[in-house]
Symmetry: C2
Subunit: 405 residues, 2 copies
């Protein structure tokens, strides 16, 4: 039975089991799927075939019902699905419910409620500060070490991996230009990020504590926060990025549950400034919240960077605590991005802005130089995390091709 | 029949007919309603009683299906509902389907997709610039006259009029403080705005032209963009407002269709800078897009300001064109705020920040001085627009009480 014939070292073995939404080739019906090796298990159909009470959560066109169910249910659903795949007693029933990845279309796995993007990598923030404010005494703004800076993005333009990205047009104005000009962005960039998916909502007026992170967040995905640097530079003072980001945000098709990443949990970098209690993840019982995720950034198949997520100064738990400390409520399907992941080394930077130092030092690719993205370029972020016994937990990929407007 | 006994000068006469969502007292079922005088007509029940084909759009718990239907349907639904109310032949059928406003609970009238807030009043932007950058040569940022500055807000915390607003806590740091402190905001403010409600979606990658504004936007409401100035001041550089705004945004319960506001259309202020073609509302066929709305701001029933919407530099049509010019798509239920409405006079300013000049010159209210809002304060924005023959078109009100966290 080929679906069960997954090699020992496969990053999508039974230790992983990420969730997505697929349509079988030739159909438009959307179904919750679980990835195993190179196959997708139709989870709703399997629940029906095996008489699982979780049928009502899984026989759905999005993950939202499962996301809303909460951690005890998430754990038990994972236990049940693991048994379907690993217990030969169930193989006859579920074997016909697998489809090869080549025979399905993958969709946006959940309905995005609010989308927030953070700015949590110290290396990234320092690089950006040095590029745009070279004369400043400190490359970080005064608030940076005290709170995870974030802003809301456009949830309606979050798209699944594989969706083409139309080069945006807009206003830009170089300092020497007498007036702004209009046209397609000439500084189209990527931002390699990790996205966190909220499952359990919270009430308006009730902050979510650091210790409650895992009660609310279901899992994570890869995220490319496409950015038009020229549009962004002209518009963003004083209210922040808007059209420079809102044209598209791509996410991977597979949501990896936090439970699959237990062996990837790491302590965040040492904090150089004291933190207010609601952000103090060194206090007993609070969620340390770091994850060791190894990201790879490729342009047209050529790897240009390998940003290490373990270097992020602010964790996803701190971001959640900060985002809600003013009483803002969470909804099922809220998505928040980590911010661009950049490590300390040059080849660990998560944007072309940093990799080419604002275009001054273009990348040398096999098909030519790149200061910023050209039409036709395919950008692919992929990642894995350490699992038990030397295994890798595959986080899949998020890919997108730039097309002319 | 009392429901039909609306005085000639009533701002909610047959010339208005705004839409909302209500539950009858004692029920939790949500229904689309149309306001007429001091009554609400159960629109779905009326459509059923009279055999209207629009029953499927109106017998719903939100306005979203009606919003998605598009302008030809919006016009015809309005024609049909007008006939139910004004043609005595229908009175016997619809009379039992009215309820007095005192006998219903009003709800958020539509599911908010993305929420964007603009910054479109020149008077407001200049006041804010003078307060925060008193030494700058120009109180406006260089981009202000070239594009309508905006940013995304939190759609999950948009609440209907009447919802209490919990005073947010967060970080703040005065310039003289050695480190940030945490606590309830001590500079809680209002922003008097108008919100525009998108009905018809647009495709990713396809800008919406100025001329197509009325094909996409259904109507408008009043909006109070509550703002914690101390939280905002510490967090907003470089990525814009986040927790200083995301705790609550209040909207009025009634959505006034643009068709009720034909007599309130006015030319926007003279443009002092040439506009790029996609924003040039002086070109033939484009939507001029100004509206003459007379707003009133009251604290605990005492009117403190009367901001005139006709003074807004950037119109809702320009905001829609700008928001989509990069190819960002629209969804049914997208909401965008005009930005704080401030006229040229002191008593026309739409925020306490401006009315008290950053707290230096507190308002004298009957119950004491106010630099910013105190717990227990009830803020009410109300408005009307000129209609035909000297009538007023009532825009209702958006009200909220500040409560301690």
């Amino acid at each position: 039975m080929p679906p069960f014939d997954v090699p020992e070292g496969d990053p999508f073995g039974p230790h992983n089991l990420p969730y997505g939404v697929f349509s079988p080739s030739g159909s438009t019906e959307r179904r919750v799927g679980v990835r195993f090796g190179d196959h997708v298990l139709d989870a709703g159909a399997a629940a029906a075939a095996l008489g699982s009470p979780y049928h009502s959560l899984l026989a759905r066109p999005t993950l939202n019902a499962l996301l809303a169910a909460g951690r005890p249910v998430w754990s038990d659903v994972r236990r049940v699905i693991t048994s379907w795949i690993t217990d030969p007693a169930h193989h006859e029933a579920v074997e016909p419910l697998f489809r090869h990845l080549s025979e399905v279309t993958l969709h946006l796995p959940f309905e995005v409620a609010d989308y927030v993007d953070f700015y949590a990598s110290e290396n990234h923030a320092r690089n950006v500060g040095q590029i745009f404010r070279p004369d400043a005494a400190d490359s970080l703004t005064p608030n940076w070490k005290h709170l995870p800076i974030g802003y809301h993005g456009r949830s309606g333009t979050v798209v699944v991996s594989g969706t083409d990205v139309v080069r945006p047009s807009g206003q830009r104005k170089a300092p020497a230009d007498p007036a702004p000009v209009f046209g397609p962005s000439v500084r189209l960039d990527i931002e390699a990020e990790v996205g966190f998916v909220v499952g359990v909502p919270s009430a308006l007026g009730s902050p979510v504590a650091l210790a409650d992170f895992r009660d609310h967040v279901f899992g994570l995905c890869l995220l490319n926060d496409w950015s038009a640097r020229d549009i962004q530079a002209w518009e963003y003072v004083p209210l922040g990025p808007f059209l420079g980001k809102s044209f598209a945000t791509s996410v991977s098709a597979w949501i990896t549950p936090l439970e699959a990443l237990e062996h990837a949990r790491v302590a965040p970098p040492e904090r150089t400034h004291p933190l207010l209690p609601y952000l103090d993840d060194s206090a007993p019982g609070n969620e340390a919240g770091g994850y060791d995720l190894r990201i790879s950034v490729a342009i047209n198949g050529h790897v240009v960077s390998e940003p290490p997520f373990s270097t992020m100064y602010w964790t996803a738990a701190q971001q959640l605590a900060h985002m809600t400390v003013n009483g803002a409520s969470l909804r099922t399907g809220d998505l928040y991005g980590s911010g661009t992941v950049s490590g300390p080394e040059e080849r660990q930077r998560g944007s072309l802005l940093e990799l080419t130092w604002n275009g001054q030092d273009p990348l040398e690719l096999p098909d030519g130089k790149r200061a910023f993205l050209e039409d036709g370029d395919v950008v692919t972020l992929s990642a894995w995390a350490p699992g038990a016994d030397g295994r890798r937990v595959g986080l899949g990929e998020v890919s997108g091709r730039v097309v002319a407007g």
